[in-house]
């Protein structure tokens, strides 16, 4: 089991460009959450996808959008990049089953985005 995988590992973009980051969840997991982690800060929740729909969203602008595919993998898209979008973007997967006990959430290694 490869665990949570993310691609690419590193990415350099310029202001105004658009970027797409990808995540494959751990085998058997159906829920994907995305986090942004600026240097020296804790991860901040961007949004979560379950059954191919955005289930919840954190305090991020509409420039941040996402998608979940039938195989549970997910993409994070950021439009009109700003310098402040430079961060480590983390994907986390989990299993959502209502009424069940808490399941562990697994994080991927992250994608380091640098905006110049």
């Amino acid at each position: 089991d490869a665990g949570v995988t993310q691609s690419p590992t590193h990415l350099i973009k310029t202001r105004g460009q658009q970027v797409t980051l990808r995540c494959s969840p751990k085998s058997g997991h159906d829920t994907v959450s995305w986090y942004q982690q600026a240097l020296g800060q804790g991860p901040q929740f961007i949004f979560q996808y379950y059954e191919e729909e955005e289930r919840q969203r954190g305090n991020f602008p509409d420039r941040f959008s996402g998608h979940q595919f039938p195989n549970y993998s997910s993409e994070l898209n950021v439009n009109a990049l700003l310098l402040g979008d430079s961060a480590l973007y983390l994907c986390a997967s989990s299993l959502s089953e209502g009424g069940r006990d808490y399941n562990d959430q697994f994080f991927g290694p992250g994608t380091r985005l640098t905006v110049l």
Binding site: S33, Y35, P43, Q48, L90, Y102, G108, G110
Partner: protein, 117 residues
């Protein structure tokens, strides 16, 4: 507004001693509190979870306590080793979905622990 504070940005401790990290929160009623370890340039790794109705949880050299009255969790590493050096993150989960975790975590900034040989 909701706020999570981890007592210090950095903590240095001698090898073999017990490291104690603190997580305080305000304006929040978490159902679950978790601790993660993060090494530089890597994603967080789950360590321990404690539920709102639990007081203490142990796993090997790790111990977590949860006081919902004080709105505080303490994370202890006993017999600390240089390999324990990392940033430790506290995270809260409000558990909005049928009692199961929402997995929409709010994290503290973390405490960087350095264990000195």
């Amino acid at each position: 507004s909701q706020k999570i504070e981890q007592n210090s940005e950095a903590l240095n401790i001698q090898e073999g001693k017990t490291a104690t990290l603190t997580c305080n929160y305000t304006n929040y009623s978490p159902a679950y509190l978790q601790w993660y370890r993060q090494d530089p340039g890597r994603g967080p790794v789950f360590l321990l979870l404690i539920r709102e109705n639990e007081k203490e949880k142990r796993k090997e050299r790790l111990k977590v306590t949860f006081d919902t009255t004080l709105k505080q969790s303490l994370f202890h590493i006993t017999a600390s080793q240089p390999a324990d050096s990392a940033t430790y993150l506290c995270a809260l989960d409000p558990a909005e979905y049928s009692g199961a975790g929402s997995y929409q975590l709010t994290f503290g900034k973390g405490t960087k622990l350095s264990v000195i040989p």
